[in-house]
């Protein structure tokens, strides 16, 4: 029912006209449907997926929730049992808990605006460059996206290490001569911003560009007739039209920020420990599980992160106005 209201609220002309269509007709169509056969067929076809959904999402979430309510065994008292919210208290009152979120926010304050600006600017520039040049540039920006994860990381080790970096002059100008001087807690937000920007920009340009390509040409032609130049066209016409995609990109990247793991984890490894080992929330969860072997606390930490990203996910799915569209077509 909630979805119906969300869809009605969305300011889309096509949907508004559809919402106005008599609901009675739809109901009649539903009654005619050979429901039982279709339902059986649907569940047979969905069976493998539902099985994986249960094994790889439902059970782990439920099990983690159950574990998080258990008492952690200690050396003094190896007895486990129902502990209520004890492990949530352990996690939240852990001296590192608050700091990990501050760290993530520090990165996101720098990274998100740069990322969104970069995505929008480059997508608009590509859209203003029709033909082979624009296509080639879009491909070039996409290349680093293929270097996901550890490959992107090793590439950045190469860039960050003053002893052999192609931008060693930059590090020397800043008075840094060893990797340990570059990779410090103070520099971490900037380093992570650079890493994530480099890796993520191309994919998002392609996505936002796809949104721009979906806008009918007549709109641009009408604007041009009104005497808009390329700059006004981008600023006054294209930008408002791709707002849902910008919001989508912002929220997806925000959710991504909460689960940063690989980069801070490995940066610590190469900087001989000049960065905290529990710098990000995911690292703290990892430490609870693998260093302290405190599974209830690890489970509680992951439930907390799950709730945060779930909330962001719900906003994306129900509010971005991007997913309902295809749902409308289903009818």
């Amino acid at each position: 029912m909630t979805t119906a209201t969300t869809q009605a609220e969305r300011p889309r002309t096509a949907e508004r006209s559809r919402a106005a269509a008599p609901a009675a007709k739809r109901r009649a169509a539903k009654r005619r449907a050979p429901h039982r056969v279709e339902r059986r067929g649907a569940f047979i076809l969905m069976a493998p997926y539902l099985l994986l959904f249960i094994v790889a999402a439902a059970i782990p979430i439920g099990y983690a929730f159950w574990i998080s309510l258990q008492k952690a065994p200690t050396l003094v008292n190896p007895q486990t049992g129902f502990g209520g919210i004890e492990s949530f208290v352990t996690v939240v009152t852990d001296y590192r808990f608050f700091g990990t979120f501050v760290n993530i926010f520090t990165v996101m304050i720098i990274w998100l605006p740069i990322m969104i600006l970069g995505i929008v600017a480059m997508a608009l520039l590509i859209h203003a460059s029709p033909g082979r040049f624009g296509g080639a540039m879009r491909f070039v920006y996409y290349i680093p996206g293929a270097l996901a994860g550890i490959a992107n990381f090793v590439l950045w080790v190469y860039l960050l290490n003053p002893s052999q970096s192609p931008i060693a002059f930059l590090w020397q100008d800043l008075g840094m001569t060893t990797l340990k001087e570059v990779v410090t807690t103070e520099n971490l937000p900037l380093i992570l911003t650079a890493m994530l920007f480099f890796q993520g920009l191309g994919t998002w340009i392609v996505i936002v560009n796809g949104g721009l390509n979906g806008i009918p040409d007549e709109i641009f032609e009408a604007a041009a007739l009104d005497g808009a130049n390329a700059w006004q066209l981008a600023w006054r016409v294209k930008l408002p039209l791709i707002r849902p995609w910008i919001g989508y990109a912002a929220l997806m990247n925000l959710a991504y920020g909460f689960q940063l793991f690989l980069e801070p984890y490995l940066l610590r490894q190469i900087s001989s420990g000049s960065i905290d080992s529990e710098w990000a929330p995911t690292q703290l969860g990892y430490a609870f599980a693998f260093t302290n072997r405190n599974f209830p606390a690890a489970a509680a930490m992951s439930i907390i992160l799950l709730v945060i990203t779930l909330a962001i996910g719900i906003v994306i799915v129900f509010r971005s106005g991007l997913f309902g569209e295809s749902e409308e077509k289903a009818r």
Binding site: G41, A146, A148, V154, V157, Y158, N161, P166, T203, A299
Partner: protein
């Protein structure tokens, strides 16, 4: 009409060499340089030697210090890494291939029929599963790693490859791709006609829907393979305890940890020396399977990215 649209295009694409056009092209080229040059230098690094780097003078991006002998030497070092004479590097690549391929096949088996059912069959919980899938798709997958570890630990399968492959088979983005595909390419009338011909719901999927699904098969296979290959946190949590069953992504982490660049004490105890050229070579080699599937799926990709963006 024709003249009008002609004029429009001139304004939209700004064909004249004005300040605007020049600065647009300059900005785009500069950004392209910032993106490509580091990668070029990194690939060159795989062809260089530690001696050359220390001596300096390898020229612009180190391109002057490249040679095939360096690669042969670095390859020897990489192969020598590991207990009992080495060879563990290839083992890791093999493990990655196993989990990425098995995970990808499972993703296809699960996603194709599920996406079709969500797109073209009417059943009560359809909306629920659709939104559950979208939600699972937009959520970063590392959030579930610790709960997954607890689950796998409970059945005593930590350190084994099969749980990793099964978990990778859960690929909601693939279901979404399949859903969008059947929504846009298979009209409901076609399903209706097949029903009138007396085909059952499952038979319609296999005989009518699947034959027109080539494009989305390529997309799901590509995206899930890439996601599986580059996955780091899941293998780190599930496979670190078993060195023989590591995937290449966490294997490279072990190589980094054994490099004298970052950890002199560990490196001192090793027969092989892994400096930046060796690490770069390992990384470049680990990218080759991605390059292969990229070339294979290339012509489906641009469209797929847009579809993946949310829209049909």
């Amino acid at each position: 009409m024709t003249t009008m649209s002609h004029e429009t295009h001139e304004i939209v694409g700004s064909r004249r060499w004005g300040v605007g056009r020049v600065s647009r092209i300059v900005v785009m080229l500069v950004v392209a340089g910032l993106f490509v040059l580091p990668i070029l230098g990194f690939i060159a690094m795989a062809f260089r030697s530690q001696e050359g780097i220390e001596a300096g003078g390898d020229g612009f991006l180190g391109l002057g210090g490249m040679s095939w002998e360096n690669v042969v030497y670095s390859w020897g070092q990489l192969m020598g890494f590991g207990p009992g004479g080495g060879g563990v590097f290839l083992r890791w690549i093999m493990n990655s291939l196993i989990v990425a391929v098995v995970g990808g096949v499972l993703a296809l088996i699960a996603a194709l029929p599920a996406g079709y059912a969500l797109a073209r069959l009417r059943f009560g919980s359809r909306r629920f599963w659709l939104f559950a899938t979208l939600l699972a798709m937009v959520m970063p997958n590392t959030v579930l790693v610790i709960p997954l570890f607890l689950e796998v630990n409970a059945i005593g399968a930590v350190g084994q490859l099969w749980p990793v492959a099964v978990i990778m088979g859960f690929f909601p983005f693939g279901v979404y791709l399949s859903y969008i595909h059947f929504m846009t390419t298979m009209p409901p009338e076609l399903v209706e006609a097949a029903r009138i011909d007396g085909l059952g719901e499952v038979a319609i999927f296999f005989q009518v829907a699947l034959p027109i699904a080539k494009q989305v098969v390529a997309l799901i296979a590509f995206f899930s393979f890439v996601a599986n290959w580059t996955n780091f946190f899941l293998p780190l949590a599930l496979l670190t305890s078993n060195q023989d069953n590591k995937t290449i992504s966490i294997g490279i982490q072990e190589l980094i940890g054994a490099s004298p660049l970052f950890n002199a004490t560990v490196a001192a105890g090793l027969d092989v020396k892994l400096y930046m050229p060796q690490l770069a070579l390992a990384t470049v080699i680990s990218m080759i399977p991605l390059l292969v599937v990229f070339l294979g799926a290339q012509r489906f990709l641009i469209r797929g990215q847009t579809v993946g963006a949310v829209k049909g």
